[in-house]
Protein backbone atom coordinates (compact mmCIF):
# COMPACT_ATOMS: atom_id res chain seq x y z
CA UNK A 1 0.00 0.00 0.00
CA UNK A 2 2.74 2.36 0.83
CA UNK A 3 4.11 1.91 -2.73
CA UNK A 4 0.90 3.15 -4.46
CA UNK A 5 0.01 5.99 -2.14
CA UNK A 6 0.43 9.49 -3.64
CA UNK A 7 3.43 11.49 -2.69
CA UNK A 8 2.53 15.13 -3.52
CA UNK A 9 5.91 16.58 -2.93
CA UNK A 10 7.57 14.22 -5.40
CA UNK A 11 4.83 14.58 -8.08
CA UNK A 12 5.15 18.34 -8.01
CA UNK A 13 8.83 18.23 -8.68
CA UNK A 14 8.47 15.78 -11.63
CA UNK A 15 5.74 17.76 -13.49
CA UNK A 16 7.13 19.47 -16.63
CA UNK A 17 7.43 23.23 -16.23
CA UNK A 18 8.79 24.14 -19.71
CA UNK A 19 8.83 22.86 -23.31
CA UNK A 20 10.17 19.43 -23.85
CA UNK A 21 13.58 19.65 -25.52
CA UNK A 22 12.40 17.75 -28.66
CA UNK A 23 9.51 20.25 -29.45
CA UNK A 24 11.20 23.57 -28.81
CA UNK A 25 12.38 24.38 -32.35
CA UNK A 26 8.85 23.95 -33.85
CA UNK A 27 6.99 26.05 -31.38
CA UNK A 28 5.98 29.49 -32.80
CA UNK A 29 4.92 32.42 -30.73
CA UNK A 30 1.91 34.61 -31.58
CA UNK A 31 4.20 37.50 -32.45
CA UNK A 32 6.10 35.41 -35.00
CA UNK A 33 2.84 34.13 -36.48
CA UNK A 34 1.50 37.66 -36.96
CA UNK A 35 4.75 38.82 -38.57
CA UNK A 36 4.68 35.80 -40.90
CA UNK A 37 1.12 36.57 -41.97
CA UNK A 38 1.95 40.23 -42.60
CA UNK A 39 5.01 39.24 -44.66
CA UNK A 40 2.97 36.79 -46.76
CA UNK A 41 0.21 39.38 -47.26
CA UNK A 42 2.48 42.21 -48.44
CA UNK A 43 4.51 39.98 -50.76
CA UNK A 44 1.32 38.49 -52.23
CA UNK A 45 0.05 42.04 -52.83
CA UNK A 46 3.37 42.90 -54.51
CA UNK A 47 3.19 39.95 -56.93
CA UNK A 48 -0.51 40.54 -57.69
CA UNK A 49 0.26 44.22 -58.40
CA UNK A 50 3.12 43.26 -60.70
CA UNK A 51 0.89 40.89 -62.66
CA UNK A 52 -1.84 43.52 -62.98
CA UNK A 53 0.68 46.20 -64.02
CA UNK A 54 1.92 43.91 -66.83
CA UNK A 55 -1.68 43.31 -67.98
CA UNK A 56 -2.47 47.05 -67.86
CA UNK A 57 0.72 47.96 -69.74
CA UNK A 58 -0.21 45.51 -72.48
CA UNK A 59 -3.75 46.92 -72.75
CA UNK A 60 -2.47 50.51 -72.73
CA UNK A 61 0.01 49.66 -75.51
CA UNK A 62 -2.85 48.25 -77.61
CA UNK A 63 -5.13 51.22 -76.85
CA UNK A 64 -2.64 54.11 -77.16
CA UNK A 65 -2.67 54.26 -81.00
CA UNK A 66 -6.49 54.40 -80.92
CA UNK A 67 -6.83 57.03 -78.20
CA UNK A 68 -4.80 59.81 -79.94
CA UNK A 69 -3.86 61.44 -76.63
CA UNK A 70 -1.31 64.24 -76.58
CA UNK A 71 1.72 63.10 -74.58
CA UNK A 72 4.08 65.77 -73.21
CA UNK A 73 7.14 64.10 -71.66
CA UNK A 74 9.52 66.98 -72.36
CA UNK A 75 8.03 70.46 -71.85
CA UNK A 76 10.84 72.01 -73.92
CA UNK A 77 9.73 70.19 -77.07
CA UNK A 78 6.74 70.58 -79.37
CA UNK A 79 4.15 67.81 -78.88
CA UNK A 80 1.61 66.95 -81.54
CA UNK A 81 -1.00 64.26 -82.18
CA UNK A 82 -3.48 63.94 -85.06
CA UNK A 83 -6.94 63.18 -83.73
CA UNK A 84 -9.10 60.25 -84.77
CA UNK A 85 -10.88 60.82 -88.10
CA UNK A 86 -14.65 60.97 -87.72
CA UNK A 87 -15.20 61.73 -91.42
CA UNK A 88 -13.30 61.28 -94.66
CA UNK A 89 -10.09 63.33 -94.83
CA UNK A 90 -10.82 65.07 -91.53
CA UNK A 91 -7.61 66.62 -90.20
CA UNK A 92 -7.43 67.85 -86.61
CA UNK A 93 -4.55 67.98 -84.18
CA UNK A 94 -3.87 68.64 -80.51
CA UNK A 95 -0.62 70.59 -80.19
CA UNK A 96 1.60 71.80 -77.40
CA UNK A 97 4.13 74.58 -78.10
CA UNK A 98 6.80 75.31 -75.47
CA UNK A 99 7.73 78.82 -74.42
CA UNK A 100 8.68 80.96 -77.44
CA UNK A 101 7.19 82.62 -80.51
CA UNK A 102 5.84 80.61 -83.43
CA UNK A 103 3.92 81.03 -86.65
CA UNK A 104 1.59 78.71 -88.52
CA UNK A 105 2.45 78.55 -92.21
CA UNK A 106 0.60 77.28 -95.27
CA UNK A 107 1.95 76.51 -98.75
CA UNK A 108 -0.13 75.44 -101.75
CA UNK A 109 2.44 75.26 -104.56
CA UNK A 110 6.02 74.23 -105.04
CA UNK A 111 5.62 71.32 -102.62
CA UNK A 112 7.87 68.28 -102.70
CA UNK A 113 8.22 65.26 -100.49
CA UNK A 114 10.74 66.63 -98.00
CA UNK A 115 11.31 70.37 -97.98
CA UNK A 116 9.11 73.29 -96.95
CA UNK A 117 7.34 75.21 -99.70
CA UNK A 118 6.92 78.94 -100.34
CA UNK A 119 4.60 80.41 -97.68
CA UNK A 120 1.29 81.74 -99.07
CA UNK A 121 -0.31 82.46 -95.71
CA UNK A 122 1.01 82.61 -92.16
CA UNK A 123 -0.17 83.78 -88.76
CA UNK A 124 1.39 83.94 -85.29
CA UNK A 125 0.40 81.17 -82.89
CA UNK A 126 1.11 81.44 -79.17
CA UNK A 127 2.95 78.99 -76.95
CA UNK A 128 0.74 76.54 -75.04
CA UNK A 129 -1.85 73.96 -75.98
CA UNK A 130 -3.98 74.29 -79.12
CA UNK A 131 -6.61 72.41 -81.07
CA UNK A 132 -6.03 72.91 -84.79
CA UNK A 133 -8.13 71.86 -87.82
CA UNK A 134 -7.45 71.95 -91.57
CA UNK A 135 -10.18 71.88 -94.19
CA UNK A 136 -10.23 72.00 -98.00
CA UNK A 137 -13.56 73.08 -99.47
CA UNK A 138 -14.77 73.36 -103.06
CA UNK A 139 -16.08 76.87 -103.80
CA UNK A 140 -17.41 78.44 -106.98
CA UNK A 141 -14.05 79.90 -108.04
CA UNK A 142 -12.00 76.85 -107.07
CA UNK A 143 -10.84 75.84 -103.62
CA UNK A 144 -10.71 77.37 -100.16
CA UNK A 145 -8.22 76.00 -97.65
CA UNK A 146 -8.82 76.94 -94.03
CA UNK A 147 -6.77 76.28 -90.92
CA UNK A 148 -8.48 77.19 -87.63
CA UNK A 149 -7.29 76.88 -84.05
CA UNK A 150 -9.03 77.19 -80.70
CA UNK A 151 -12.09 78.78 -82.33
CA UNK A 152 -10.26 82.10 -82.63
CA UNK A 153 -7.29 81.75 -84.99
CA UNK A 154 -7.90 81.45 -88.72
CA UNK A 155 -5.71 81.14 -91.79
CA UNK A 156 -7.39 81.10 -95.22
CA UNK A 157 -5.99 80.61 -98.71
CA UNK A 158 -7.87 80.34 -102.01
CA UNK A 159 -6.79 78.47 -105.11
CA UNK A 160 -8.06 78.00 -108.66
CA UNK A 161 -9.95 74.90 -109.82
CA UNK A 162 -6.94 73.43 -111.61
CA UNK A 163 -4.95 73.46 -108.37
CA UNK A 164 -6.60 70.15 -107.35
CA UNK A 165 -7.84 68.49 -110.55
CA UNK A 166 -9.24 65.56 -108.56
CA UNK A 167 -6.91 62.89 -109.95
CA UNK A 168 -5.85 61.69 -106.53
CA UNK A 169 -2.98 62.66 -104.27
CA UNK A 170 -0.18 61.40 -102.10
CA UNK A 171 0.26 62.14 -98.39
CA UNK A 172 -1.93 63.75 -95.77
CA UNK A 173 -2.05 64.48 -92.06
CA UNK A 174 0.88 63.41 -89.89
CA UNK A 175 1.46 62.28 -86.30
CA UNK A 176 -1.36 59.81 -85.71
CA UNK A 177 0.74 58.77 -82.72
CA UNK A 178 1.67 61.47 -80.25
CA UNK A 179 5.12 62.79 -81.16
CA UNK A 180 7.59 65.25 -79.65
CA UNK A 181 9.68 67.43 -81.95
CA UNK A 182 12.52 69.89 -81.43
CA UNK A 183 11.14 73.39 -80.77
CA UNK A 184 13.77 75.08 -82.96
CA UNK A 185 12.76 73.12 -86.09
CA UNK A 186 9.62 73.34 -88.25
CA UNK A 187 6.91 70.86 -87.25
CA UNK A 188 5.13 69.65 -90.40
CA UNK A 189 1.50 68.71 -89.71
CA UNK A 190 0.22 68.06 -93.22
CA UNK A 191 1.90 67.37 -96.57
CA UNK A 192 -0.06 66.42 -99.67
CA UNK A 193 0.95 66.48 -103.35
CA UNK A 194 -1.74 66.25 -106.04
CA UNK A 195 -1.44 63.78 -108.89
CA UNK A 196 -1.24 65.02 -112.47
CA UNK A 197 -2.27 63.52 -115.77
CA UNK A 198 0.56 61.91 -117.69
CA UNK A 199 -1.62 61.24 -120.76
CA UNK A 200 -3.58 58.17 -121.86
CA UNK A 201 -5.76 58.43 -118.78
CA UNK A 202 -2.71 57.82 -116.57
CA UNK A 203 -2.00 59.83 -113.42
CA UNK A 204 1.02 60.09 -111.19
CA UNK A 205 2.40 62.22 -108.38
CA UNK A 206 5.21 64.51 -109.55
CA UNK A 207 8.58 63.82 -107.94
CA UNK A 208 9.56 67.49 -108.03
CA UNK A 209 7.81 70.54 -106.54
CA UNK A 210 4.12 70.62 -107.50
CA UNK A 211 0.67 71.77 -106.42
CA UNK A 212 -0.42 70.44 -103.07
CA UNK A 213 -0.93 71.49 -99.48
CA UNK A 214 1.63 71.92 -96.74
CA UNK A 215 0.90 73.10 -93.21
CA UNK A 216 3.56 73.56 -90.57
CA UNK A 217 4.51 75.45 -87.41
CA UNK A 218 7.91 77.09 -87.18
CA UNK A 219 9.69 79.20 -84.58
CA UNK A 220 9.93 82.90 -85.35
CA UNK A 221 13.62 83.54 -86.03
CA UNK A 222 15.70 84.38 -82.95
CA UNK A 223 12.83 84.09 -80.47
CA UNK A 224 13.22 80.58 -79.07
CA UNK A 225 15.71 79.15 -76.64
CA UNK A 226 17.35 75.96 -77.79
CA UNK A 227 17.09 73.46 -74.94
Amino acid sequence: MTDTSPQPAEVETREPVGPRPGRARWQVGLQTLVLLMVAIAVWTAFFVNRRQIAALESRIAATRPLAHELGIEDVNKIAVVKLDELWYDENQWDIYLPEGKYRLCMATRGIDQNRLGPVVKSAPIAAGKHHLALEQQAIRSGWRITATWDGTGRLVAEESKDWDPGHGSMGGGRHSLSTQLAADQPAVLFRRIFSRSTGNNQFSTPSGPAEGLLLWIEPVAGSNKTP
Binding site: L36, V38, V42, A45, N49, Q52, E85, W87, Y88
Partner: protein, 205 residues
Protein backbone atom coordinates in the same frame (compact mmCIF):
# COMPACT_ATOMS: atom_id res chain seq x y z
CA UNK B 1 8.80 43.76 -26.21
CA UNK B 2 11.77 41.60 -26.99
CA UNK B 3 12.21 40.45 -30.61
CA UNK B 4 13.96 37.22 -31.38
CA UNK B 5 16.15 36.85 -34.47
CA UNK B 6 13.47 35.09 -36.61
CA UNK B 7 10.99 37.85 -35.73
CA UNK B 8 13.51 40.53 -36.67
CA UNK B 9 14.06 38.82 -40.03
CA UNK B 10 10.31 38.48 -40.64
CA UNK B 11 9.82 42.12 -39.73
CA UNK B 12 12.47 43.13 -42.27
CA UNK B 13 10.91 40.92 -44.97
CA UNK B 14 7.48 42.40 -44.20
CA UNK B 15 8.83 45.96 -44.31
CA UNK B 16 10.60 45.46 -47.66
CA UNK B 17 7.48 43.72 -49.05
CA UNK B 18 5.28 46.50 -47.72
CA UNK B 19 7.33 49.21 -49.43
CA UNK B 20 7.32 47.27 -52.72
CA UNK B 21 3.59 46.55 -52.46
CA UNK B 22 2.90 50.24 -51.81
CA UNK B 23 5.04 51.33 -54.77
CA UNK B 24 3.50 48.80 -57.18
CA UNK B 25 0.03 49.62 -55.85
CA UNK B 26 0.57 53.27 -56.71
CA UNK B 27 1.86 52.35 -60.17
CA UNK B 28 -1.08 50.01 -60.74
CA UNK B 29 -3.47 52.81 -59.73
CA UNK B 30 -1.77 55.29 -62.06
CA UNK B 31 -1.89 52.87 -65.01
CA UNK B 32 -5.49 51.93 -64.18
CA UNK B 33 -6.51 55.61 -64.29
CA UNK B 34 -4.63 56.07 -67.57
CA UNK B 35 -6.30 53.04 -69.13
CA UNK B 36 -9.76 54.13 -67.96
CA UNK B 37 -9.20 57.58 -69.48
CA UNK B 38 -8.18 56.01 -72.80
CA UNK B 39 -11.01 53.44 -72.67
CA UNK B 40 -13.57 56.24 -72.35
CA UNK B 41 -12.52 57.26 -75.88
CA UNK B 42 -11.81 53.88 -77.42
CA UNK B 43 -13.99 51.42 -75.49
CA UNK B 44 -12.71 48.60 -73.34
CA UNK B 45 -12.01 45.44 -75.34
CA UNK B 46 -10.88 42.38 -73.43
CA UNK B 47 -9.72 39.74 -75.88
CA UNK B 48 -10.70 36.34 -74.52
CA UNK B 49 -9.56 34.17 -77.45
CA UNK B 50 -6.76 35.58 -79.61
CA UNK B 51 -7.76 33.39 -82.59
CA UNK B 52 -11.21 35.01 -82.94
CA UNK B 53 -12.41 38.38 -84.21
CA UNK B 54 -13.69 40.49 -81.29
CA UNK B 55 -16.08 43.42 -81.74
CA UNK B 56 -17.49 45.87 -79.21
CA UNK B 57 -19.77 48.71 -80.29
CA UNK B 58 -18.94 52.23 -79.06
CA UNK B 59 -21.47 54.91 -78.16
CA UNK B 60 -21.28 57.94 -80.46
CA UNK B 61 -24.36 59.89 -79.35
CA UNK B 62 -25.33 60.33 -83.02
CA UNK B 63 -27.96 58.06 -84.68
CA UNK B 64 -26.15 58.53 -88.04
CA UNK B 65 -22.76 57.50 -86.65
CA UNK B 66 -21.76 53.93 -85.69
CA UNK B 67 -18.42 52.86 -84.28
CA UNK B 68 -16.77 49.70 -83.01
CA UNK B 69 -13.56 48.70 -81.32
CA UNK B 70 -12.31 45.68 -83.27
CA UNK B 71 -9.62 43.06 -82.64
CA UNK B 72 -8.40 40.99 -85.60
CA UNK B 73 -6.23 37.93 -85.03
CA UNK B 74 -2.90 37.49 -86.81
CA UNK B 75 -3.02 36.41 -90.46
CA UNK B 76 -6.72 37.25 -90.64
CA UNK B 77 -8.12 38.56 -93.91
CA UNK B 78 -10.99 40.92 -93.23
CA UNK B 79 -13.25 41.22 -96.25
CA UNK B 80 -16.19 43.52 -95.91
CA UNK B 81 -19.11 44.01 -98.26
CA UNK B 82 -22.17 46.21 -98.20
CA UNK B 83 -25.46 46.26 -100.06
CA UNK B 84 -23.73 48.86 -102.28
CA UNK B 85 -20.76 46.64 -103.19
CA UNK B 86 -17.46 45.46 -101.78
CA UNK B 87 -15.91 47.62 -99.09
CA UNK B 88 -12.38 46.30 -99.55
CA UNK B 89 -10.27 43.84 -97.65
CA UNK B 90 -7.16 43.89 -95.50
CA UNK B 91 -4.64 41.42 -94.14
CA UNK B 92 -1.98 41.62 -91.49
CA UNK B 93 0.53 39.10 -90.21
CA UNK B 94 0.19 40.66 -86.75
CA UNK B 95 -2.92 40.97 -84.58
CA UNK B 96 -4.58 44.36 -85.06
CA UNK B 97 -6.83 46.55 -82.97
CA UNK B 98 -8.61 49.47 -84.59
CA UNK B 99 -11.76 51.59 -84.45
CA UNK B 100 -14.18 50.95 -87.30
CA UNK B 101 -16.67 53.62 -88.25
CA UNK B 102 -19.77 53.95 -90.43
CA UNK B 103 -21.23 57.42 -90.66
CA UNK B 104 -23.89 59.07 -92.80
CA UNK B 105 -24.03 62.79 -93.58
CA UNK B 106 -25.98 64.81 -96.10
CA UNK B 107 -23.82 66.91 -98.40
CA UNK B 108 -24.47 70.41 -99.74
CA UNK B 109 -26.34 68.91 -102.75
CA UNK B 110 -28.78 67.03 -100.53
CA UNK B 111 -27.21 63.64 -101.25
CA UNK B 112 -26.69 61.20 -98.42
CA UNK B 113 -22.96 60.40 -98.07
CA UNK B 114 -21.54 57.29 -96.47
CA UNK B 115 -18.17 57.20 -94.69
CA UNK B 116 -16.71 53.80 -93.83
CA UNK B 117 -13.43 53.11 -92.09
CA UNK B 118 -12.16 49.61 -91.50
CA UNK B 119 -8.63 48.38 -90.88
CA UNK B 120 -7.48 48.89 -94.47
CA UNK B 121 -8.44 52.55 -94.86
CA UNK B 122 -11.44 54.79 -95.30
CA UNK B 123 -13.82 55.74 -98.11
CA UNK B 124 -16.63 58.15 -98.80
CA UNK B 125 -19.41 57.66 -101.33
CA UNK B 126 -22.73 59.23 -102.24
CA UNK B 127 -25.82 57.09 -101.75
CA UNK B 128 -28.15 57.34 -104.68
CA UNK B 129 -30.58 60.15 -105.28
CA UNK B 130 -31.43 63.06 -102.94
CA UNK B 131 -34.83 61.34 -102.55
CA UNK B 132 -33.19 58.76 -100.29
CA UNK B 133 -31.82 61.54 -98.09
CA UNK B 134 -35.29 63.11 -98.00
CA UNK B 135 -36.81 59.78 -96.98
CA UNK B 136 -34.61 59.33 -93.91
CA UNK B 137 -34.02 62.99 -92.99
CA UNK B 138 -34.95 63.56 -89.36
CA UNK B 139 -36.14 59.95 -89.02
CA UNK B 140 -32.91 58.06 -88.27
CA UNK B 141 -34.30 57.15 -84.89
CA UNK B 142 -37.10 55.17 -86.59
CA UNK B 143 -34.75 52.82 -88.47
CA UNK B 144 -34.39 49.31 -87.08
CA UNK B 145 -30.74 49.01 -86.06
CA UNK B 146 -28.85 45.73 -85.71
CA UNK B 147 -25.32 46.60 -84.59
CA UNK B 148 -22.77 43.91 -83.78
CA UNK B 149 -21.43 44.11 -80.23
CA UNK B 150 -24.03 46.67 -79.16
CA UNK B 151 -25.16 44.80 -76.05
CA UNK B 152 -22.10 42.68 -75.27
CA UNK B 153 -18.68 41.75 -76.56
CA UNK B 154 -19.06 39.78 -79.79
CA UNK B 155 -16.46 37.15 -80.71
CA UNK B 156 -16.56 35.24 -83.99
CA UNK B 157 -14.30 32.84 -85.87
CA UNK B 158 -12.56 34.59 -88.79
CA UNK B 159 -14.13 32.19 -91.31
CA UNK B 160 -17.71 32.86 -90.19
CA UNK B 161 -19.93 35.49 -91.82
CA UNK B 162 -21.17 38.18 -89.48
CA UNK B 163 -23.25 41.32 -89.95
CA UNK B 164 -21.53 44.39 -88.50
CA UNK B 165 -24.43 46.76 -89.15
CA UNK B 166 -27.89 46.49 -90.65
CA UNK B 167 -30.26 49.44 -90.91
CA UNK B 168 -33.75 48.37 -91.96
CA UNK B 169 -36.59 50.66 -92.93
CA UNK B 170 -39.76 50.08 -90.86
CA UNK B 171 -42.87 49.01 -92.81
CA UNK B 172 -44.32 52.51 -93.20
CA UNK B 173 -41.01 53.91 -94.50
CA UNK B 174 -40.65 50.95 -96.87
CA UNK B 175 -44.05 51.82 -98.36
CA UNK B 176 -42.91 55.44 -98.75
CA UNK B 177 -39.63 54.32 -100.29
CA UNK B 178 -41.45 52.21 -102.90
CA UNK B 179 -43.29 55.32 -104.03
CA UNK B 180 -40.37 57.75 -103.82
CA UNK B 181 -37.31 55.85 -105.08
CA UNK B 182 -36.43 54.78 -108.61
CA UNK B 183 -36.80 50.99 -109.22
CA UNK B 184 -33.05 50.35 -109.25
CA UNK B 185 -32.68 52.20 -105.93
CA UNK B 186 -35.62 50.29 -104.44
CA UNK B 187 -33.69 47.06 -105.05
CA UNK B 188 -30.64 48.50 -103.24
CA UNK B 189 -32.26 50.24 -100.30
CA UNK B 190 -35.43 48.23 -99.47
CA UNK B 191 -35.85 46.72 -96.94
CA UNK B 192 -32.30 47.34 -95.60
CA UNK B 193 -31.10 50.84 -96.42
CA UNK B 194 -27.61 49.74 -95.37
CA UNK B 195 -25.94 46.44 -94.54
CA UNK B 196 -22.24 45.86 -93.79
CA UNK B 197 -20.95 42.35 -93.19
CA UNK B 198 -17.71 40.42 -92.86
CA UNK B 199 -17.30 37.82 -95.56
CA UNK B 200 -16.01 34.40 -94.61
CA UNK B 201 -12.31 33.86 -95.27
CA UNK B 202 -12.94 30.26 -96.35
CA UNK B 203 -16.29 29.48 -98.01
CA UNK B 204 -18.29 26.96 -96.03
CA UNK B 205 -18.68 23.55 -97.71
Amino acid sequence: MKLRLPDVLLLLVALVGGVLAWQTGRERGRLGDKYERMARKTGDLVVTDRSRIHVRALKTGDPMHFAWRVYLPANCTLKAKTNLGDSGSSWSSEPQEFIARVRFLEDEHGVLNLYTRLSGGSSRMGLGDPKLAELVRGRWGKLLVEQMGATELFAVEPDQPAVLLKLTLPDDMQAEARKALYPNEQARFIPAVFRLEFEPLVPKQ
